[in-house]
Assembly symmetry: C2
Homo-oligomer: 348 residues x 2
C-alpha cells in the first residue's frame, strides 16, 4: 500500500491561496496553437478559428471516486485528466485544453499536491493538452478535483450519442471489466494490510487490471484511427459507467434497440481469471463494472470492411428497431433485457 | 435565519446519479446562438465562429466560502454563477455558457438541490447564458459547487491584467466593502440566533450590505457601457479577493506602480455606518474585504472625458512607473505601501 512517508512537508498555510496555483503550475508549457493566454488572468483566452468546440466536466471526490490508501496522488492527477479527455474523444474531437480546480484539506502537504500536479502534467504532456486555468481552495474534509476539458472539432466530424440507425454495427475499443476487478484486488489488499501491515502482496498476476484502475488511458488513438480509415461513427459514447448503461444511452438517444452478443464482449485473461477467483460472473463485471474509458460506437455496415482487421476494435452487437428493445444475447442463446446499473453513489 | 423546514423531502438515493442532473436541468432553455448542443451528450458543442473564447473556473466550498445557516440555497446557486461571470466580464468578454458540477452529501434533499438550481437558472436567465454541462456526485461531507464559465470576445477587444501604462487612470465600478460588512452582520445574527432562536432581528438598516453578500451581481452592464462609450480599458480585473490585492495584480502584471487615493474609494453609507458600529476602519474593509465583484480597470487619460460623468465609475488612482511602487495616499496625505491581504483559506 502506498503512503506518504515524506517527512519534509510544507504546510499549505505557509503559501496561501495565491501562491499555490502559481507554484503548482509554474512549469506547465503551452503546446496548443489555440491557447492564446493560459493561467494568470481572470480567464484563459482561446482561439479556435472556425472550428466547433466541445466542453465537458467531471468531479472526483475522495471517499467516493477514489481512496488515497491505494491510489497514489500522481496517478490520481493523471486519472482526473483522462476521465475528462475520454468524454472529448467520445465526441470525435481533439482535446486541447483543461482547467483543474481542487479543494483540499489542511492534512495535505504542498509536496502531496505537487505529486497530484505532476500526474496532471504528465497526462497533459502525453495527450498534448494545455492546462489553462483552475482554482485551488481549502476544503473542510478530504480532496476534491474538478476538471473541465475543452476540445476542437470540424463541424462535419462531430459524433453525438443520437445518430445510431437500425442495421448499424455496435463496436467497442479495448476490453471491459478490468478497472473494476483491479479495484476489487486493491480493496482486498487494503483489508489484508490492515490486519498485517508487513505482508508483501504479490500483485504481479493482477498487473494489467490494477493498472487499468490506477492509470487508465483515453482513446485518443482511435480518433486518429477514424480519420486514417475514413470512418465516421454514426453515434459514440465513452464507457465510464459500465457498458450496459452506455448502450442504453446510445439506444435511448438514437431511438433504436440492439442485440449485444455476450460471446463477443472482449475480456482480458486477467479479468477472466480474477472473476473466477472472486467467483463472480465476468459478463456482469464487463457490463456493469465501469471506469473502462473505452469507446462504444456504431457504424454503418458499409464501413465494416474498413474496421474488421483492426485488433483495437471489436464488433459486439447489432442495432435494431426501437420496438425490438435492448437485449443481451447469451452464450446459451437466450435474450435478456439490458438494464443500466452504473454507479449509484447516492445510495444510503 | 433560514432553515429548510420543508417536510416533503425526497432522498437523493431515490433518484440515483443519472436521474439527478436530468431532473435538475430539464427546464433550462438554450438562449445562445453559439450553443449547438447542450446537456445530454458526452460534451457540449459550441460554435463561436471566428471569435476568441474565454474560459474561467471557480470552486465554492461549504464551510469555507459559504455558510448555509444564513445563505439560502437559491442565493448560493445565483452567487456561484455570478462569481464566474465576473471573471468573464473582466476580460471585456460576453459570457455565453457555464457548466455546473456539484458534490453533495446525503443530508441534502432533492428539494434543496432544486432550490440551488433555481438560483442557477435565475442567474442564467438574467445574464443570458446557457447551462451546457455539469456533473452531480455525492460527497462524504457538505456541498461543493464547481462552475466553469465560457465567453466570447472579438480578438481586438480582449483586455488583460497586463496592459496598464504609466499616466493611466485607475478606475472602479460600484462601491467596496459592502459584501464583507454584510457577512459580519450575518455572522453576528447567527450567534444571536444560537443564544435566542426566537429573536427577530431588524436587518433593514443593513439591507444593502446583506444583499451584496447574499446576492451579488456581475458587471455585465459595464462591458456594454465600454462599447457604447467607445472605451477599451488598458487593463482590467474583477474585484473578488479585495481591492488591494487586485491592484497589486494589475501593477505586477503590467510592470507599473500606482497611487490609490483613500478619499476616492467609493463607499456606501451603510458600509460607513456599519464599520462605525463594529469599530473597524472602512478603508481597511474596502481594501481587503473582497467579494465585491466590481471591475477595476485602467484607461488612458485621453478617455477620461468619456467616463467622467458616469455615476457607475469612479477614478480612484493614477498609474505610475514601476519603481515608484504601489501606495495608498491617505486622507492625511501620507503614503502607505499597499500589500495584498485577500482570502487566506489555508490558515490553520
Amino acid at each position: 500500500m502506498i503512503e506518504d512517508k515524506n517527512q519534509q512537508r510544507t504546510k499549505l498555510s505557509d503559501l496561501g491561496e495565491f501562491g499555490l496555483i502559481d507554484h503548482l503550475t509554474k512549469n506547465f508549457k503551452v503546446k496548443q496553437k489555440s491557447t492564446v493566454k493560459s493561467i494568470g488572468d481572470d480567464a484563459a483566452v482561446l482561439n479556435f478559428e472556425n472550428k466547433k468546440i466541445v466542453v465537458t466536466t467531471d468531479l472526483l471526490v475522495e471517499g467516493v471516486h477514489f481512496d488515497l490508501s491505494y491510489m497514489p496522488l500522481k496517478h490520481l492527477g493523471y486519472k482526473a485528466v483522462i476521465v475528462n479527455l475520454s468524454d472529448v474523444y467520445a465526441m470525435n474531437a481533439k482535446a486541447t485544453q483543461i482547467t483543474v480546480s481542487i479543494a483540499v484539506s489542511n492534512r495535505f502537504s504542498l509536496e502531496a499536491l505537487e505529486d497530484l500536479y505532476a500526474g496532471i502534467e504528465t497526462a497533459a504532456n502525453i495527450y498534448d493538452i494545455d492546462v489553462v486555468g483552475g482554482d485551488t481552495t481549502s476544503s473542510t474534509k478530504g480532496l476534491l478535483i474538478s476538471v473541465t476539458a475543452i476540445g476542437e472539432v470540424e463541424t462535419d466530424d462531430v459524433v453525438y450519442r443520437s445518430g445510431a440507425k437500425p442495421n448499424d454495427l455496435l463496436v467497442v475499443t479495448g476490453d471491459f471489466g478490468a478497472a473494476y476487478m483491479g479495484l476489487q484486488i486493491l480493496e482486498r489488499e487494503k483489508e489484508v494490510y490492515k490486519v498485517n501491515p508487513n505482508n508483501q502482496p504479490d500483485l504481479e498476476p493482477y498487473s494489467y487490471i490494477i493498472e487499468r484502475q490506477l492509470k487508465p488511458e483515453a482513446r485518443k488513438d482511435i480518433i486518429k484511427l477514424f480519420k486514417d480509415l475514413g470512418v465516421k461513427p454514426s453515434s459514440m459514447i465513452d464507457v465510464s459507467d459500465g457498458l450496459s448503461s452506455e448502450i442504453i444511452h446510445i439506444c435511448k438517444q438514437s431511438k433504436v434497440g440492439c442485440d449485444l452478443y455476450e460471446e463477443k464482449i472482449p475480456l482480458d485473461p486477467q479479468v477472466i481469471s480474477t472473476c473466477e477467483e472472486f467467483n463472480i460472473d465476468s459478463t456482469t463485471v464487463a457490463l456493469n463494472g465501469g471506469e473502462d474509458y473505452e469507446l462504444l460506437f456504431t457504424i454503418s455496415q458499409d464501413d465494416y470492411p474498413k474496421i474488421k482487421a483492426n485488433p483495437n476494435l471489436s464488433v459486439i452487437g447489432y442495432v435494431k428497431e426501437e420496438k425490438e428493445g435492448v437485449h443481451l444475447v447469451t452464450r446459451a442463446d437466450t435474450r435478456i433485457p439490458i438494464k443500466a446499473q452504473g454507479w449509484k453513489n447516492f445510495n444510503d
